[in-house]
Symmetry: C2
Subunit: 432 residues, 2 copies
C-alpha cells in the first residue's frame, strides 16, 4: 500500500471543518509525508457556492459543483465528506465513492447514525475503508481508542459528554447562576451554539454519536431509533445549585450498556459526582469513558468540535489510509454485526433526583411521601429549606436505587397533586 | 495479510502479565477472531522455571527454556516479550525475532528506553512491527492515541502520571496524613510496590516511559540519558498539606517539551492545580496529556499496570498485527528520527514552591528575602503560621516565574544559613 505515491484527496464541503483540513494539510505537509509514508494531497473539492471567498487558496484544485461527481473523479483516491446531514448529497457522495472503490473519511454522525449498517456493508463489499474519527468527540481519538486500542476487551459500558455546546451551557449556568435561555442566547452570540440550537440542546447530536459508539463498543448494528433522548432545556439554575449542594454536577450524557435485557442507549441530563472524570470535565470539552472487562475504565478527554480538533481527526484517518491501515467499520465484519434487542429506558434501575415546587402548607410532604412509599421508592436525602406559608417552595429529594417505571408512575401521581404547582423535575443520578 | 490463518504467538515470560495474556486470549477467542480477522493462538512459551505452577494450562504449548530459542521457533509468527530488563535475555530474544523476520510485541519500557532507536532500525530493516502499547501507561491506548490518533499534529508537549505506585503513595499520604516511609511499607505489603521500590519511587520507571513517549511525540531518537530524574522520597506529609492549602496536588510527573533550546525531558514531583485532569487523577491510575497544535490538549486516563490492563494492551497490539496494521516504531521511519539536542533542567523557567525549616527568631525572614531578591526570585505567596520562639518552624512560599538556575543558586545560599535547620524542599509548580 505504501508506495511513496501521493494519496490524492477530494474534499466535499468547504465550511469550517473543510477549511481546517486544507489548512492542516498545507501546514504539515512534510511531517505528514513522514508519518503517512507518502504525501497526502488535495486535488479536487466540491461545495455549494464556488464564488464565496473562504480565505482558502483553491488554485490548482479541480472544482465540482456536485459532491457525487467529486466522488467519482478519477483524480482522487479518497473522498473526505464534510457536508453533513443524514441523507441527500452527503449520502449520495459517500455511496458513489464506495461504489467506485474509494475509501471515505467522514465527520458525518447523522449519516452514520441513520445508515451506518448499510454503509458498512457497502464499504466491506467494495473492500474500502469507511473512516469517521471526526464524527464522534471531535479531536479525541475515541473511535481509534475504542475500536483498536481496547479491541482485546468485552466492553461493558461506554458513556460520555458528547456535545460540547450543552456542556458549555451547563458549565456557564453553574458558574454564573444564570438560567438556560439566557446562557443559550449568549452562546449563540459567541458562535458556540447554532441559530437553530435544537440538534444540540435537545440531545439529537449526542444521540447520533452515541448510536455510533454503541455499534463500535458492542459490535451491533447502529440503532439510532432506540436511543432514549432528553435534552437540557428543562435544567434550571435551581437544579444546578442543588446538584452542587449534593456533591454533583449536571451533565448531558450519552450512556450505552449491554444488559441482560438488551442494549440500553440513552441521552439525558445526569447528576454525576463532582470528583469523577466526567464531573471534572467543564466547558466545551467532550469526554468518553469506556469500561472493558480486562482494561477497566479508560477515560478520554479533549475538544469535541471546532476547526482544528475536527481537522486533526479527519487527517488522522487519512494517515491510516495512506499507510494502508484498515479496520472493519464497526470493529468486526459487517456480516458479524449483531442485530441486538434494545432495552428501553423503563428498564433502568438507579438513583434519582427530584425537585418539586409545592405550596407550603401542612400535610403536603406527607402526601408526597405516601405516594413514593406506594411505588416502593425509597428516599435517600430530603431537602426543604425556608418557609413561605401559602406560597410555592422547592422540595428536593434523592432516592436509593429505584426502577424507572416505578419512578415515572410516582412522578405522574405527584404531578397531579393540588399542592404541586409545576411539573416535577427529575434528573437521573449516575455514580460512575 | 488477513487470510483467515491463525496468527501463532510465542510468549516469553509467564509472570503476571504473561499469565494475563494467555487468560485473555483464552477468554475472548471468538471475539478476537472477529476483530482480528483470524484466530490469535499461543503455540509456544518460554520462562525460567518449567516446574512452577502458575495456575495456567500450558498443555499443547511448546516449551523453550531459552527465550531466544522461542523467538526463532518456526511455529510462531510473532514474539511477545514479557521478560523485562533493558538487556540480557529480553534483548537477545527481541533481536532474534526481528532478525528472523517476526513482529515483536513487548511491554518492556527499559529495553525501549535504552535501545529504542537501534531496535526500531532493525525492525524497519526487517520489515516487521515492533509494538509496545503495554510499555507505557499500561491499559491506556497512549501509544496508539499519540502515534496514530494525533498523527496530524505537531506535538508541543506531552506529560503525565506514568507510575501508578508513586501516585498511589502520594494519594495515600494525602488522604491519611501519613508519611512516605509508612505508606510505602503498606504498599509493599499490599503488592502495589516491589520489595526493592527504587525503580518506582526514584522515578526511573517513569523516566523509561517518558523517554519512549518523547520519541513518539517529537519523532526523535529515544534519549533516556537526558531525562532529568527526581523521585518522591523527599515528599513529606507537611508539603502535601501545604499543597492542598495552596490549591494543588503533588504528582510525580514526566514532562517532555520541544523548546527553542532542544528537547526537555524531566521526571520529578510537581504541584498541579487540584481541578486539572492530572490533579484529579488519584490512586493507582495513570494519565497522559498530549498537546497538539491542531487538536489542543487530549487527556487519556486509566490503569497503568496490573494483569488485566497490561494484557489488554499486549493483545491490542496482536490484533493490529493480525489485521496487518503497522506503523513505524516511533511514528516516522527510523532513518527520519531526529537526533535532537537536549535542553537541561537548568533551562526550565516556571513557578516554584519552597519550604524551609527555620529557627523562629528575629531577622530570619529578612535574610531569606534578601537572598531571593539577590537572585531575582519574586515571591508570589508566603506562609508562616504559629510561633515557637527559638525552635524550628516551617516557612513556605511560592514564586512567580523564575529561572531554575537562579532558584538553585538561591536555595544553595539559603541552605547554608545558620537559621535554616534542614535542607530546603523545593517542588516545581506546573499550571497545566
Amino acid at each position: 500500500m505504501v508506495d511513496g505515491k501521493a494519496l490524492r484527496i477530494g474534499v466535499a464541503g468547504l465550511g469550517t471543518v473543510g477549511g481546517g483540513v486544507l489548512k492542516l494539510l498545507a501546514t504539515h505537509g512534510e511531517l505528514l509525508t513522514r508519518r503517512a509514508g507518502r504525501p497526502i494531497q488535495v486535488t479536487a473539492v466540491s461545495a455549494r457556492d464556488r464564488s464565496r471567498d473562504r480565505g482558502i487558496d483553491l488554485s490548482g484544485l479541480r472544482w465540482h459543483d456536485n459532491a457525487a461527481d467529486l466522488a467519482v473523479d478519477d483524480g482522487i483516491d479518497v473522498l473526505v465528506e464534510l457536508i453533513g446531514g443524514s441523507d441527500g448529497v452527503a449520502k449520495q457522495a459517500v455511496e458513489a465513492a464506495i461504489a467506485a472503490g474509494k475509501p471515505v473519511v467522514t465527520a458525518n454522525k447523522a449519516l452514520l447514525a441513520h445508515h451506518g449498517a448499510s454503509l458498512a456493508a457497502r464499504a466491506e463489499a467494495a473492500g474500502v475503508s469507511l473512516a469517521y474519527e471526526a464524527a464522534v468527540a471531535g479531536g479525541i481519538p475515541a473511535i481509534k481508542g475504542l475500536r483498536e486500542g481496547l479491541a482485546a476487551n468485552n466492553i461493558r459500558e461506554v458513556h460520555g459528554i458528547l456535545n460540547g455546546t450543552c456542556n458549555y451551557i451547563l458549565t456557564e449556568m453553574r458558574t454564573t447562576g444564570r438560567d438556560f435561555a439566557d446562557v443559550l442566547a449568549d452562546a449563540q452570540r459567541l458562535g458556540y451554539a447554532e441559530s437553530d440550537p435544537s440538534f444540540d440542546v435537545d440531545g439529537v447530536d449526542a444521540a447520533h454519536k452515541l448510536a455510533v459508539l454503541t455499534a463500535v463498543a458492542f459490535g451491533v448494528h447502529v440503532d439510532f431509533r432506540s436511543v432514549h433522548i432528553e435534552g437540557i432545556r428543562h435544567i434550571s439554575a435551581l437544579d444546578i445549585a442543588y446538584a452542587q449542594e449534593l456533591g454533583y454536577r449536571i451533565r448531558l450524557l450519552g450512556i450505552a450498556r449491554r444488559t441482560e435485557d438488551g442494549i440500553e442507549q440513552r441521552v439525558h441530563p445526569c447528576m454525576v459526582p463532582i470528583s469523577s472524570p466526567i464531573g471534572a470535565t467543564d466547558g466545551v470539552f467532550n469526554a468518553v469513558v469506556a469500561d472493558g472487562d480486562f482494561v477497566d475504565k479508560v477515560v478520554l478527554v479533549g475538544r469535541g468540535a471546532g476547526e482544528g480538533p475536527t481537522a486533526s481527526a479527519v487527517v488522522a484517518d487519512l494517515v491510516d489510509i495512506a499507510r494502508g491501515r484498515s479496520t472493519p467499520t464497526f470493529g468486526v465484519p459487517a456480516s458479524a454485526l449483531e442485530v441486538a434487542k434494545a432495552s428501553p429506558i423503563s428498564n433502568r434501575r438507579g438513583r434519582y433526583y427530584v425537585r418539586l415546587m409545592v405550596v407550603d402548607r401542612p400535610g403536603v410532604i406527607a402526601e408526597i411521601a405516601a405516594t413514593l412509599r406506594d411505588q416502593n421508592v425509597s428516599m435517600e436525602a430530603f431537602l426543604q429549606r425556608g418557609r413561605a406559608p401559602g406560597e410555592a417552595v422547592p422540595v428536593v429529594w434523592t432516592t436509593h436505587d429505584t426502577d424507572e417505571a416505578a419512578m415515572q408512575q410516582a412522578l405522574a401521581t405527584i404531578a397531579s397533586l393540588d399542592s404541586v404547582t409545576e411539573p416535577p423535575r427529575m434528573i437521573r443520578i449516575e455514580d460512575f
